[in-house]
Amino acid sequence: MKSAVEKRNTYFDNAATSFPKPPEVAAEMTRYLNEVGGSYGRSAHARTVAVSRAVEETRSFLAARIGVTQAAHLFFTHNATHAINLVLKGFPFTHKRVLVSALEHNAVMRPLMRLAAERGLTVATLPSLPDGTVAVERIGEALNEAADLVIVNHESNVNGVLQPLAEIKRRIGAVPLLVDAAQSAGSTPLALEEAGIDMAAFTGHKGLFGPTGTGALYLKEPDRIAPLIEGGTGSNSESFEMPGFLPDKFEAGTPNIAGIFGLRAALLHPPAVRHAAADLCALLDAMERVEGLRVFRAADRERQGELFSFTSDRMDCAAFGRRLHDEFGIETRVGLHCAPAAHRHMGTFPDGTVRIALSPYHDRDDIAYLRDAVKKVQGR
């Protein structure tokens, strides 16, 4: 049991943004703003050189974390949405056909729909299992017609399904694979080069425990993509052309240095995990036994991330979420989670679900408190 001074962790909205963060994150951001100062690569005085070192160190730490040896192929962005837009707006579509998983977020679907409207792109869904897992043995059906790109949300932000990336890449062969790793980065081991992943988008503020406003894009073949924005890079300043070399090609403008200091601290000080995978499984099993609850999760336990959703036969998700909050202080996210495609696949569109997203900071008592609160709200 928790001591009187240790507050129960009732924040279960970690798929929106993780909280709490390691204390070093705020400390490093404050240290940059109050003591370090300086820009990145724009000057040569001690402050800016120190900042440049810190930014490059962060790039190297993040590259190592995701299984990338060429850190220059990793570009800082504001978030995963920015990284995905960078790819989609700069990709040379020739066949004008893109394949997506059934569980894509609007970070992918909205830019694709704009491209569909403006450039005639067609978007098709990969064959999928009922929980949204890509049916890898049937991928060939979707590739009967040529495709430019395959996009897969590594971990669904609705039911937590983890997609078999290496197997998907093996099956699609030379067709480039863009992975949306917004939910999985930090909480699930990634080995991008080993899996042959072509492109991957990250956010710093979820499983990596950095601040909002930080993210990254990995490109195995950066020559294929045009920059999304142009501007100053601190290099080739005599030219009006964007540099073609890396990482400058994709990093116009001063980066979010305070955020990158926070992200570096988060990468250096990841929180210890206070619960076991079995605790999540036990929670899922317990909730599935509650009469009137329907739990949306991965069918294969080995492919379950640290989040899932549920609906109730007694009240809509907004009412359920409000009661969890008002009566038990439990914070969740209800609705469509910016992923209407996923909800359509699951059959929960347009009503949505209540989403539970754990963090390493949750211990068994926190999880038990959540389980009991859900039971009480359901009236069981």
Binding site: V49, S237, D248
Partner: protein, 72 residues
């Protein structure tokens, strides 16, 4: 002194790390205007360290050029 010039800040910092790791004295300085109108950084080292530094950079796959005869 001798200057090692690079395309990007990323490469400058990587090169500095390599020099420090090899215990070769170096300094990150602005690229002199007489060399380039760019606003970038470069690495200053002793003439005697030209070959050891160049070998380490080549080994690491870092693209660079050398400017000799630089006087502070």
């Amino acid at each position: 002194m001798i200057l090692f010039l690079f395309e990007s800040t990323h490469a400058v910092i990587a090169a500095e790390k390599i020099c420090v790791g090899a215990q070769i004295p170096c300094a990150v300085i602005p690229v002199p205007r007489s060399i380039s109108s760019q606003c970038g950084l470069c690495i200053e080292a002793a003439v005697a360290d030209r070959e050891p530094v160049a070998a380490l950079l080549r080994e690491s796959g870092i693209i660079f050029t050398i400017h000799e005869g630089y006087v502070k």
